[in-house]
């Protein structure tokens, strides 16, 4: 096995944390090597060292058998290592070709040679099978295409080793499929790829071998075809994890939410919901599947009173709440786990205690009317933190300082604490690692057992499949399919998600 990368005894510490603790990593030439670990395991630090962003405190790096030292990312790129970041670094108003050649422009007599750079890009994209239009402006191309531009950018600079940092986080399922083709093409062309992820199924699908990091240390390297999701998960978390939650059957109770012919517009004032009708019973989880941007966000906002509806009715426990303000809906028993916890679910500059009453200030302070009883709010918050294992030194620290998992647990704790009649959970595990995801799934099932009606929205089909009793598929602002969990499968839902069939299925 010819090694393209050999990192030995890499140590990197930041004030207060040992991010990389004597890490050894060996990557063969022409392989796709997964780097798996929970948030904070040290993956990105290690890759920042490999791409020249940081210098290690200790340890050596060899490239193709030769020891190297990188002074800067530019230096690393010159030696053949290119990193594609999760957040793209492209200029939206420039064309694909302009972005690609930026910093190493193709010129003729001191002027930019547009046609030559465009034909160069065309050649490059043909060579690797990465479909791209060189003269298109980056702002008008899809996220998947932008990612291809980033990959082409490092290829153009001659990268032999390409690091992809959580590349699928921003992609739709279809774009993920395209990326899979891209990665395969690059491997065939002899490139080495490091694939950073915390998603097990992707690592299993994309990679040849995988190295698992936990708390700054390597806990194992496996040949992908010889391992299982369960093994990788337990390596990552350090204990055995059940990837699929156990769901007990439950008799459904009364109809809690009834939505009839609901219509709403999006921010551009185009129809986003085109007559949606469904219901959710107490003790039932109804999952909403769909590709992002098919009206799911507007459905949540319409149900919680954040946007106005343009038609139809919403009934909660028999009462028409279509025109109630948000605060009234909360009082009637709706709880909402928003899809964007940073923008909506929490105020990052507020303390945990202050965040623990967001949306429900009346509950704690009713006794004292005008006054906010900070002492009992702190006590309340401490109780929530204990119940949901929110790891923070005290209720007085700012929410912005917590990790994503702990932030989301606080949101959950707050929303569950009211024993809601209807719980709307939008992307409850987005960006969270395996441990936190497991916890949140179990919490949702506990709410179901208690008798809450739960509406679950997720872009992760596996999450929908695992938790839901009934699945509704959204496509272009309409429900294009309704399936019972027991009688459907991922293929059927996936087909419906892409608008494959339009009739309502009754099983």
């Amino acid at each position: 096995m010819e090694l393209s990368i050999c990192m030995q005894g890499i140590v990197k510490s930041f004030p207060g944390v040992l991010a990389n603790d004597h890490i050894d990593l060996q990557v063969a030439r022409g392989e796709v090597h997964g780097l798996l670990g929970e948030n904070g395991a040290g993956k990105t630090t290690l890759m920042n060292i490999l791409s020249g962003m940081y210098r290690p405190d200790e340890g050596q790096i060899e490239l193709f058998g030769k020891p190297v030292r990188f002074e800067s990312p530019k230096d690393a790129l010159a030696k053949g290592i290119g990193m594609v970041y999760q957040h793209f670094m492209l200029i939206p108003t420039f064309t694909v070709a302009e972005n690609l050649t930026l910093g190493a422009e193709i010129t003729r007599g001191g002027f930019l040679d547009r046609s030559k750079s465009e034909s160069m890009v065309k050649e490059l994209s043909k060579k690797y099978g990465l479909a791209i239009e060189p003269s298109a402006k980056v702002q008008y191309i899809s996220v998947g295409a932008q990612q291809r531009v980033e990959i082409l950018k490092v290829l153009y600079r001659g990268a032999q080793i390409i690091i992809l940092d959580e590349p699928t986080a921003v992609l739709t399922p279809q774009e993920t499929e395209d990326l899979y083709q891209t990665v395969n093409a690059l491997r065939k062309a002899g490139h080495t790829i490091i694939f950073i992820s915390h998603k097990l199924n992707e690592v299993l699908r994309f990679t040849d071998r995988v190295t698992v990091l936990r708390a700054g240390k390597v806990v194992g390297t496996r040949v992908t075809s010889e391992t299982t999701a369960e093994e990788l998960a337990s390596l990552m978390v350090g204990r055995s994890v059940s990837l699929h939650v156990k769901k007990l059957p439950r008799e459904v109770d009364a109809e809690m939410l009834k939505v009839e012919n609901l219509k709403a517009l999006d921010a551009r004032r185009l129809p986003a919901l085109r007559g949606v009708s469904f219901n959710v019973h107490a003790g039932e989880i109804v999952g909403i599947a769909g590709v992002e941007g098919n009206g799911q966000t507007q459905l949540v906002e319409a149900l919680t009173g954040l946007i106005r509806t343009t038609g139809g009715t919403i009934r909660l426990d028999g009462e028409d709440i279509t025109h109630f303000p948000t605060s009234e809906r909360f009082c009637r028993g709706i709880a909402h786990i928003p899809e964007d916890r940073h923008r909506r679910g929490l105020i990052l500059d507020f303390s945990l205690a202050e965040n623990s009453i967001l949306g429900y200030p009346d509950r704690i302070s009713l006794r004292s009317g005008f006054r906010l009883d900070m002492k009992s709010i702190r006590k309340f918050c401490a109780k929530l933190m204990a119940a949901f294992d929110v790891r923070a030194p005290s209720p007085d620290v700012m929410a912005g300082g917590l990790s994503g998992g702990n932030q989301q647990k606080l949101v959950l704790a707050r929303e569950f604490s009211r024993c809601p009649k209807l719980l709307i959970a939008a992307q409850p595990t987005r960006g969270l690692d395996v441990g936190a995801t497991e916890f949140i799934h179990n919490s949702l099932l506990a709410e179901r057992k208690r008798g809450a009606a739960i509406l679950l929205l997720s872009l992760e089909l596996s999450e929908i499949m695992d938790l839901s009793d009934r699945i509704l598929v959204f496509y272009e602002g309409k429900i294009v399919g309704e399936c019972l969990r027991e009688t459907t499968n991922e293929d059927e839902i996936g087909l419906l998600m892409t608008g494959g069939r339009h009739e309502v299925l009754i099983h």
């Binding site: 990105t44 630090t45 948000t326 809906r329 923008r343």
Partner: protein, 366 residues
């Protein structure tokens, strides 16, 4: 990079500790005074003599100190006004105009309403000032809430309208002008005056009203549901909306309270010092207030200290001009430098946050 006033203000005022706030306060003050010293020295005057005169003017006598407090009073109220709006994410540059109309309304109520005992007349006149300031700021608030017009633009424009209303009211044919050549309203009745409470000084006790407001503001912002809502809207309008806090109503309310405080500043000044409204009664308290609010880190206690500092400079400069021959214009240069350094911090924090952002991402991957 996208520029936003609110973001800049948060950068200037968001601090991790009291120590850091105090550091910025002292740092900006020292740099301001040093700069002033260089300017004084470069005009062949002794900075030591000038500053000695300044501080002896402010602290050398009971009269001097009461003058400091009299200068501090409108600055403190106006500073609270600006800070209150900031806490709701609103940049109220219109404090000066609200203060002008507050002074006008209080001045009018002070002479036009007659026959009331002082304990009714004085509060009523003060209240008229508050109401005028609040209503004036509500125009900007409503434009923001329903039409999305940025309050920085609308409050600046409303300032000019307010100044001209003030000018017109006491111009030679103005409806509120007193007989005589001075462009001012008639003197307010004794029943509406905040009279001197220390003999042989002009000390009206208006500072106590301002201090009560400072305490009240701290209480409202951090210990009441109203304050919670206002700060929630200020920190994250979308999270506030999610939580069922109506952003428009909350913004309107915060703007009205802010304007009311500025109006009160004008009323206290007219009823406690000049006893009549003239359109020149404010040398720009409402503008100094922006610097004071920032220098005080938007916290009532910090604003008390910052307005006291500006009060010392204003009151002491009179003696400095008399005995050291240094024009009191230097005070404006010093306060300008202080403002400059406070604002500079916003820019520095920007660099710092870019740097520490890298560290933060590293920390996340610990």
């Amino acid at each position: 990079m996208k520029f936003s006033f609110t973001e800049l203000i948060h950068r200037i005022t968001d601090r991790k500790s009291w120590l850091e706030s105090a550091g910025m306060f002292l740092g900006a003050t020292v740099v301001g005074l040093l700069f002033g010293a260089i300017v004084i020295w470069s005009s062949n005057k002794s900075p030591i003599v000038a500053y000695t005169a300044l501080f002896s003017g402010a602290f050398g006598s009971l009269y001097g100190f009461t003058e400091v407090l009299m200068s501090t009073t409108p600055l403190l109220l106006a500073g609270l006004s600006v800070a209150f709006a900031f806490h709701c994410g609103l940049f109220n540059i219109g404090a000066e105009g609200q203060l002008m109309l507050g002074g006008l309304a209080a001045g009018w109520a002070g002479y036009a309403i007659q026959g009331l005992p002082w304990y009714l007349h004085l509060p009523l006149a003060l209240l008229c000032g508050v109401a005028a300031g609040a209503l004036w700021s509500l125009i900007a608030g409503a434009l923001k809430a329903w039409k999305g017009i940025h309050e920085v633009i609308s409050t600046i424009m409303l300032n000019y309208i307010a100044f001209n209303i003030g000018d017109y009211m006491v111009s030679s044919n103005g409806p509120l002008k007193a007989a005589g050549i001075i462009p001012a309203t008639p003197y307010v009745l004794n029943t509406a005056r905040l009279l001197p409470i220390i003999p042989n000084t002009r000390f009206s006790g208006g500072i106590f009203i301002a201090l009560v407001m400072a305490v009240l503001m701290g209480y409202v912002l951090w210990h009441t549901r109203l304050g919670y809502r206002i700060r929630a809207v200020g920190k994250s309008p979308s999270a506030a909306e999610y939580a069922g806090i109506p952003p428009r109503q909350t913004m309107l309310l915060a703007m009205a309270i802010s304007g009311g405080l500025a109006g009160l500043a004008g009323a206290v000044q007219v009823l406690g010092l000049s006893y009549r409204f003239s359109s020149t009664f404010s040398p720009g308290y409402g503008f100094d207030a922006i610097a004071i609010a920032l220098l005080g880190s938007l916290h009532p206690f910090g604003i008390v200290l910052a307005s006291l500092l500006f009060g010392i400079l204003h009151a002491g400069s009179v003696k400095m001009q008399q005995t050291a021959g240094v024009s009191n214009d230097i005070i404006y240069a010093i306060s300008g430098i202080i403002i400059f350094f406070v604002a500079l911090r916003g820019v520095l924090v920007n660099f710092q946050s870019r740097f520490s952002h890298k560290n933060a991402t590293a920390k996340v991957q610990k």
